[in-house]
Amino acid sequence: MKDFILKRMAAIILPFICVYGFYVILHGHVSPGGSFAGGIIVGLSLIAYSTIYGIAKGRAKLPEKVLVWTESYGTLWYGLMGMVGIVKGVPFLANKLAGVNLGNPGTLSSGGLISLIGFGVGIRVASTMVTLFFTMMEE
């Protein structure tokens, strides 16, 4: 991948794609889309980066350890959010019942734990995508 134009274009576009992905993740609860879609967009932006600039560079940006950690603790994050309910003495994965402030509907901070969970899931999906890509490409 030594195409100069491609690299330059990517350098311009990819950050925006990435940011868009984060936007979709973060606004999953107020607009169409959601953490999965957003996470995949983020992941794709990273995959595109690696494709264009070479795997090694991509790897350098995202070392395996980071990926493993994101994945593991991203998944654990979900569980931990679920535990909030238990800590509060209500069932697992409780949101409203757990007494979390649901906030003002339509705003970014609304939905209590939902947005937090969604963020974690999004990150996780993104890292999964990248991991899958790297794993398959490295063979």
């Binding site: 607009s31 169409p32 959601g34 999965f36 509907p105 899958l132 794993t135 398959m136 063979e139």
Partner: protein, 133 residues
């Protein structure tokens, strides 16, 4: 019979899903390329997604997203969509894993054609016993 066709036409998404399902099934059955098999399975899953999602639909309903534009409108059932979101992710996971296995098989046999693999394997089977230590 006429009644049947009438109902079928009325339920055209389901009908389409059934056809999609069969296409997927035939693909799985008749293609010896592993990737194509995988695609066949995805088609089949899509058929099921279609049934689900179509089942939740209401003619003239709007997407289940609360907004001022939609006030007073009939929302379609959000549950199937939510379920299918999960289903799609599952499908993606399976596909990913299957792809990985295909890669692995390609590495081992140099082909992803099932028929070739079978032929290769029958050759391998001859000296299989001393393969393991």
């Amino acid at each position: 019979m006429k009644e049947l066709f009438g109902k079928l036409i009325m339920n055209y998404p389901y009908f389409a899903a059934a056809i999609l399902f069969m296409i997927g099934a035939l693909t799985v059955l008749t293609r010896s390329d592993l990737l194509k098999k995988l695609i066949g399975i995805n088609i089949m899953e899509s058929a099921i997604f279609l049934i689900f999602v179509a089942g939740g639909n209401i003619r003239g309903g709007v997407a289940p997203l609360l907004s001022k534009a939609n006030s007073g409108a009939v929302y379609v059932n959000p549950l199937p969509s939510a379920l299918m979101l999960t289903g799609i992710v599952v499908s993606v996971s399976v596909t990913a894993f299957a792809l990985a296995l295909i890669v692995r098989l390609h590495r081992a046999y140099g082909t992803i054609d099932l028929q070739r693999i079978a032929e290769l394997r029958s050759e391998v089977a001859m000296d299989d016993s001393n393969h393991h230590t």
